[in-house]
């Protein structure tokens, strides 16, 4: 009994320690942001890695999520005879919830793992130590541009996801299931406020900070072995996904 309690306390303490050192790491990176903006070419390269390379998977998933929303939405709304509300329902759920959250989960899988394993491998092959030997701070040179690249890419990816998703819903709902196009768009316009779009952007911005921080932190603090890098990559996906969903609840509750 005491053993269990001790284990629990230990793991709780470890979680708190991780959270604390992650916070400190974030503070350290934030202090470097002005100097990172002077070397913006590094950030651009990371926007390419995190954002542009994730574009295809984001667009594909957005299209299919939108198409599923179209199918299910028409099926559900037909039962109450108001399939005209499809546009409003799909747009609201995409812009406020599905867009930011799904993008964040995909981002953790596509870009987060790449970041964590890249930095982890740098750690394992002593590249980070070599930088330190040359008086180059690896946090400044390696971590901050990757973090910024992720933070900038995430909202852009999320709005692209939502826009493509709405297109997918329209494709299935209007073109295939013959919902009236005018009603689809006008009900959408009547229901969606600018505030809803902004809510989605704020959410994805927060997810961008969380996911990029977790990926960079896990990679930077990876155990410098092949196994350690693998574990850091796994932890990145797991922690990012859980953090996304918890943050999502908190942000939704705050902005409701």
């Amino acid at each position: 009994m005491i053993g269990v309690a001790q284990d629990l306390w230990l793991s709780l303490r470890r979680a708190l320690e991780t959270l604390g050192s992650m916070g400190l790491f974030l503070g350290r990176m934030l202090a470097y942001i002005p100097s990172a903006l002077l070397r913006f070419d590094l950030v651009v390269a990371q926007i390419f890695n995190a954002g542009a390379l994730s574009l295809v998977i984001i667009m594909l998933c957005g299209l299919f999520i939108g198409m599923v929303l179209g199918l299910l939405g028409v099926d559900l709304l037909q039962r109450v005879g108001s399939e005209d509300a499809l546009g409003a329902g799909a747009a609201l759920s995409l812009v406020k919830e599905l867009g930011p959250v799904t993008t964040s989960l995909l981002f953790a899988g596509r870009a987060g793992t790449a970041l964590a394993s890249e930095i982890g491998l740098m750690r394992a092959t002593d590249q980070l130590s070599a930088m330190q030997m040359m008086a180059v701070d690896p946090v400044k040179r390696v971590c901050v541009p990757r973090f910024l690249g992720g933070v900038i890419s995430m909202p852009l990816l999320a709005v692209i996801f939502s826009a493509i998703g709405i297109f997918g819903t329209q494709l299935i709902g209007v073109q295939v299931m013959s919902v009236d196009a005018g009603a689809f768009w006008s009900q959408m316009r009547a229901a969606v406020e600018l505030q809803d779009v902004m809510e989605g952007v704020v959410k994805s911005f927060a997810f961008g900070i969380a996911c990029s921080l977790i990926a960079v932190y896990e990679g930077f603090n990876a155990i410098p072995t092949a196994e350690g890098v693998g574990r850091a990559t796994t932890r990145t996906v797991v922690i990012s996904s859980v953090a996304t969903l918890i943050l999502d609840y908190i942000l939704t509750a705050v902005m409701l």
Binding site: I47, A52, L55, I160, A190, V192, V197
Partner: protein, 172 residues
């Protein structure tokens, strides 16, 4: 060098696409549209009850949208809702004795203001007030009205049956 240029180009395209998507989301699926400053002219109308009317709701005449609700306030003196309507400038021949009513679009639709044309020769201009207004139909008050009238009828019927029933009994 070629590599970086390709990278920069595709990054630029990605960012551009992102902003295009944001532009689409903010202008095409919300009811804002692109508007630079107020256009058209403003009218005010006072309603007893506006129900679920919201800012941005359409103002229509014969079913055609001619403007939208710009502001909803409360008149502290008359205890009425004061609604400011923004009418597009091309609809400048609305008779100044026209009436405004609040309707609901469909069962799940939002509420909107319908304007019925009057017969006056002079037209509404900036800042005028629509004098004849009809409040939103609030479902609860409608139901209670219906129930009250129904209840009243019921009592009469009850009285009738009470008066009849003993008679029937005695007849049997």
């Amino acid at each position: 060098m070629r590599q970086t240029r390709a990278t920069e180009l595709s990054t630029g395209l990605f960012v551009l696409l992102g902003f295009a998507a944001l532009f689409f989301l903010t202008t095409q699926i919300t009811n804002r549209g692109l508007s630079f400053g107020p256009s058209g002219y403003a009218l005010t109308a006072k309603f007893e009850n506006i129900g679920g009317l919201r800012v941005g709701a359409p103002v229509s005449m014969s079913g055609v949208k001619i403007g939208q609700v710009e502001e909803i306030g409360f008149d502290n003196v008359e205890y009425k809702a004061q609604v400011k309507l923004r009418i597009e400038s091309q609809y400048n021949q609305i008779p100044n004795d026209s009436d405004a009513s609040i309707f609901t679009a469909g069962l799940l639709g939002g509420q909107y203001i319908g304007i019925g044309a009057g017969g006056s020769e002079t037209y509404f201009k900036e800042g005028d007030q629509i004098e004849i207004t009809q409040s939103a139909l609030v479902l609860e008050s409608l139901i209670s009205k219906f129930l009250f009238s129904f209840g009243g009828d019921n009592e009469k019927v009850d009285d009738g049956t009470k008066a009849d029933a003993p008679a029937e009994d005695t007849a049997k």
